[in-house]
Symmetry: none
Subunit: 411 residues, 2 copies
């Protein structure tokens, strides 16, 4: 089954917004067995949208569109698709109620723009938007499907996952595709590739391997396509068992991308708690942990000590040690971890202190130097890392490294 992805919006076209929607849709649709023929980004222009939909439908079975469904004048996707499929714009009562409920819950009143969003093409089935006012639009014609979704990423993602993909699976018979993920942490891609070289060469031709790196982590994806799902899964399982023997400490999950969720499950099952004392990571570890619903079961809080006075007064770090060794040092980071563990009375504690950059480095401690400590019921361990020059990436890599250390200690 062939798929065209059509993303509409001048902000994408001129590069003001990075087109993460097209990528996300491509990943999700590839996963369920669609072949992406092309991704096209075009302007908010009536004729161009019309022609692009026409062209896409000639070549693909399904066209997924995002953008141009908002309430303002430059949003043209609905009128163009309505014209393309020969419908009429009529008010949809259920859509109206959904919009009204959303607007009222936010403490606003329905205005004309909101009301206009309840106008839907008679040629389509509207799709509910749980998170915004613009409904999705599902058109079918001669066995082909065109779906328009909002451009706001979280609205689009919820709609694609919850509604569009399940409905597409009903319309089309899709081949079996298995993507088996193995999530690793603590080894850079090049080192991992070297360690896995023999194993990679031993993979059967039916299994494709991809390395998908992100700061601090590398996702390994084993993909297999065929007709017999059981056989595909068996072959993959066999090779994954071999893999586990090669890098036992670096694999943190086979189904969960977020290492903080793996840690959360571990802590909850063992009835343990954790706190954090962040300096250079600036709250990012806390943010990762609390992104997870229910994290209040095991995460009590953090003392974010950006200034030295906060390290001294709130965490009990020895002021002389800061003078003697510097804030970015093993001595200080260990005291930070122990300080927050004692103050917040948790079983474990994480601390970071480093130079995120882009300035502030020295010859002895270049930008990217980060000390990380984990306080455990049995003491405190620490490790020094030297990352790169880019501030945002350093923050991410240090946070993931810290969570990796914590996971190994809890396990």
């Amino acid at each position: 089954m062939k798929l065209d992805i059509l993303t509409i919006g001048d902000e994408l076209l001129i590069g003001q917004t990075l087109n993460t929607n097209a990528q996300w849709i491509a990943v999700e649709m590839t996963r369920i067995g669609f072949e992406v023929r092309q991704q096209l980004t075009i302007s908010d222009d009536e004729q161009i949208i019309f022609d692009s939909v026409d062209e896409a439908l000639k070549n693909s079975d399904v066209v997924l569109i995002t953008g141009g469904l908002g309430p303002t004048k430059d949003d043209l996707t609905l009128p163009v698709l309505n014209k393309f499929f020969g419908g009429e714009l009529i008010e949809n009562k259920e859509v109206y109620k959904d919009i009204e409920r959303l607007i009222l819950s936010r403490g606003f009143k329905m205005n004309q723009n909101n009301k206009n969003q309840a106008l839907v093409s008679s040629a389509c089935t509207p799709l509910r938007n749980e998170h915004g006012t613009a409904p999705g639009l599902w058109f079918e014609k001669e066995g082909k499907v065109v779906v328009a979704m909002p451009g706001v990423p979280y609205e689009m993602k919820a709609m694609l996952s919850d509604t569009v993909i399940p409905q597409l699976k009903e319309v089309y018979e899709l081949p079996e595709i298995i993507h088996h993920m193995v999530y690793t942490q603590g080894l850079p891609e090049s080192m991992l590739a070297e360690l896995l070289e023999d194993w990679e060469n031993s993979l059967p031709a039916t299994i494709k391997l991809a390395y998908l790196p992100s700061p601090g982590r590398v996702k390994l994806r084993l993909s297999s396509i065929g007709l017999d799902r059981n056989k595909l899964q068996q072959d993959i399982n066999f090779k994954v068992e071999e893999l586990k023997k090669i890098i036992p400490d670096n694999i943190y999950s086979e189904n969960e991308e977020d290492i903080q969720r793996v840690i959360g499950d571990l802590l909850r099952s063992k009835k343990l708690t954790v706190s954090t004392a962040e300096s250079c990571t600036g709250g990012y570890i806390a943010h990762l942990i609390t992104e997870i619903a229910g994290s209040s079961d095991y995460y009590l809080g953090s003392i974010l000590s950006y200034a030295n006075e906060v390290k001294i007064n709130q965490l009990g770090v020895n002021a002389d040690d800061i003078k003697k060794y510097g804030a970015v040092s093993q001595q200080v980071v260990k005291q930070m971890a122990l300080g927050v563990k004692n103050n917040l009375k948790t079983d474990y504690a994480l601390a970071t202190s480093g130079i995120a950059g882009p300035t502030g480095g020295s010859d002895a401690k270049p930008v990217g130097t980060v000390w990380i400590a984990v306080a455990t019921p049995n003491g405190v361990i620490s490790e020094k890392f030297v990352f790169g020059k880019q501030r945002d990436i350093n923050i991410q890599r240090a946070s993931i490294a810290a969570l990796g250390m914590l996971r190994r200690e809890i396990k």
Copy 2:
């Protein structure tokens, strides 16, 4: 002058790699006055590449291509373009020397793959690649230009900036394009559109307006194209001044997207400091603030009180008030803000307490309810918000709302 951007590669098509090249090219080319007609991503397939180039050249003056120039079998851009422009593949001595120099400098010897990369189409002018082995290809035909560049981002960027753009400026006389941004916070898109309706209708035909929403914010983009840059800027400035009178409190910048950077600049210039006491936002406000290099000048730290005991012991919140009013209440959030302001000795402090979801809500306090307080040198203000059901979006919206309140107080 119209431009098509053509990015080639299966890794882009299936979403394995985020297409940052297309965005970067779009930004750079828009800046110099090109109008991006479309961005198209296609597979490493001979016929598809051929047809796409053909189609692009029918509609645009310039086609910029990235990808498919490497030394392996799936790299087809060179042979396809050579065929399209009716050339022959011949070895280019200068390109050969460049490749040899690069390979030797890396401590390797020239292999057959490297030698093959010196084969260039006789129909094009090769462009030097300072950072890699694949030269760029510059084709011209009937006043139109097709340029193929490597897909590796830093190789492509250097080639576009250093060679392609200067050469394009010699070939074409380019119009002036102005994009003027206005960053707003605190009004949802539909309300903003209502408030701005009359003003929007009063815009001259030469100025296009776009609403670009993200959680908690709406970006307004005014675009104008013409020959007289001063006149274009004057017209836009005039309308922006009108806009400022309509929503004076909601505009936080005209050149800076990150509200935390605007706040940072304000604090630094006034020599003021801030701290945070986050509950439901879980460190995300701290992360936003500390993303900015140099934030340690004005940001001292945070007491992240996820657990009630931390609110009581570290922030001095009255335990009886938590019992009586609940942790998500005006009384508690105000005490949190004052507590962290006193403990960390800052001029301002921000506090949040809410129900991020997806569970934990009640009839009186549904999921999405968030109390935010700002402690200032003159007292403490607070406000209640009711956001949606999605945890991650609630965290983002609450964080931006909190920063918006802080900005208004500092100003």
